[in-house]
């Protein structure tokens, strides 16, 4: 029987696989995508100092290290169920069923939508879909697009589309309704952006120099925010206009925008149509934890982590024997944090399987997760550290409860 199955070959899964292989574990990595790298694949942004973070290159480096270690990575394999039986883990896939002593879930994140009339039309896609089409498959999602939803992810991907020579006619808010919540409220979106600007990559600093670091803008806030938006890499970022409808019969032909009040109400008579052939929906990311949920692992909904996350410790153990988590399944953060979590998980797994792992190297790996987090150029949620502390408290409560039962 194998020592370890890792589900997900993104930054967390691959880093874990490499670390675990270096400690002599027998590993199988499974991923449903056709290339290794996960969400890392599409990433492309300029870091302060002028270096480019090229997700395709980073994925290639990880894959090459994995290849050199002779790792067994199966792509295009979908897992539909997992079970713990007689102390080992069974992983059911569309090919065959695999078995191992331990299981690491590194399934990453999924995109949440915003709901806009017309969003089922061909040509409407999640913003991540446009990113992958552009950077990974090198096919333009269209000639001219509109992005609905103003947040860290959509701004970063808008820039990537721009670099690839794809026209982004506007980044605008979604219309206010019960689904879209605060993402449709100009003042709330403005505040969220102001927070991320402090730790943002150069792309945001550039945007910030115009918009967010400007004291006048801050004071005047959203009230005097230009109705036609502030330009970021030539793309109008509209915080006072919302897409109220996507137009088209057989596919996307345009969007209807309207000016909204500071609290998101549509001002009638302000409607205008922008022609475009694709639309990106940017509702943010949430941890894709479905496989963990099948195991009965306790879950906690923590807004700062992006949704419901499986209970886990700083060393990436869950309360279930032999089950570990790493990467965005534990909360929405950047790829570098995912990598350091993957390394930590692998060390915990090796230790639990009886390998000689010094306590110091495990605690150093945990410390590296925190330092990577503090140094991160992209922070998806301003209070991610608060979220991490909340989860740690739940973990300690859980551990105390377990001890009390044992006593």
């Amino acid at each position: 029987m194998r020592d370890l199955i890792i589900i997900g070959s993104g930054p967390a899964g691959l880093t874990a696989a490499i670390t675990a292989a270096e400690h002599g574990l027998d590993i199988l990595v499974i991923d449903e995508y056709l290339k290794p790298g996960g969400r890392l694949l599409g990433q492309l942004y300029e870091e302060p100092g002028g270096n480019w973070w090229n997700g395709i290159e980073e994925s290639r480096k990880l894959s090459e290290r994995a290849g050199a270690l002779g790792l067994d990575i199966r792509l295009g394999v979908s897992v539909h169920n997992i079970e713990q039986e007689n102390g080992s883990w069974l992983v059911y896939t569309d090919r065959e069923t695999f078995e191992a002593k331990s299981l690491l879930l590194a399934t990453g994140a999924a995109e949440a939508p915003v709901a806009i009339p017309g969003w089922t039309l061909p040509g409407v896609m999640s913003v991540g879909a446009a990113q992958v089409m552009t950077n990974v498959h090198r096919v333009k999602p269209g000639q001219k697009g509109v992005i609905i939803g103003v947040n860290v992810l959509s701004s970063a991907i808008a820039m990537e589309l721009h670099i690839a020579g794809i026209e982004v006619a506007a980044i605008a808010l979604p219309k206010n309704n019960r689904v879209n919540g605060s993402a449709a409220i100009p003042t709330e979106v403005m505040n969220a952006l102001l927070h991320v600007s402090h730790m943002a990559p150069s792309a945001f600093v550039k945007m910030g120099s115009k918009l967010m670091k400007n004291e006048f803008m801050k004071k005047m806030g959203i009230t005097f925010y230009p109705k036609n938006g502030v330009r970021m890499w030539d793309i109008p970022v509209m915080l006072r206009k919302a897409v109220i409808r996507i137009e088209g019969t057989d596919q996307v032909e345009g969007v209807t925008l309207a000016t909204v009040t500071a609290d998101g109400k549509v001002i009638s008579g302000t409607e205008e149509v922008i022609g475009c052939d694709f639309v990106c929906i940017a509702g943010g990311l949430y941890p894709l934890a479905e496989l963990a949920a099948l195991t009965g692992c306790p879950f906690y909904h923590i807004d700062e982590l992006g949704g419901s996350v499986p209970l886990h410790s700083e060393d990436m153990r869950t309360p279930l024997d032999g089950l570990y988590v790493a990467g965005n399944i534990t909360g929405i953060e950047g790829a570098k944090v995912a990598m350091s979590q993957g390394k930590t998980a692998a060390l915990s797994i090796a230790k639990d399987l009886g390998k000689d792992i010094a306590e110091a190297s495990l605690s150093e790996a945990i410390r590296q997760i925190s330092s990577t987090r503090s140094d991160a150029h992209i922070q998806f949620h301003q209070d991610v550290e608060v979220g991490r502390r909340k989860l740690q408290e739940y973990w300690e409560q859980h551990a105390t409860g377990k001890r009390n039962i044992l006593v």
């Binding site: 695999f98 939508p113 949920a293």
Partner: protein, 90 residues
């Protein structure tokens, strides 16, 4: 297309109007809203619309942070009957 006609669950084509009305009429939590409307019960297993269904239901009921609002059940991907099979020994 009006807001009421807007699709929320793409797989089962459940509209915003139907979800809001049902949530209002029965003061549903997410799970009940899903069972009454079929939102989130289609091909994708609710991966796309779960946050939207949650948001509509949360207008009527408060979130319990210790529970996943819409339960996951195996299989989490559609499975062909022919693929349900043996354990590998490799």
């Amino acid at each position: 297309m009006t807001d009421r006609d807007m699709i929320v669950c793409r797989c089962e084509e459940v509209s915003y109007g139907e979800l809001v009305d049902t949530a209002g009429q029965f003061a549903c939590n997410s799970r009940e809203l899903k069972l009454r409307t079929r939102a989130g019960m289609g091909y994708c297993g609710g991966r796309t619309c779960r946050s939207s269904v949650d948001a509509i239901a949360l207008a009527a009921a408060e979130r319990d942070n210790t529970q996943i609002t819409l339960k996951y059940q195996p299989p989490v991907r559609p499975v062909h009957f022919g693929d349900l099979g043996a354990i590998s020994n490799d």
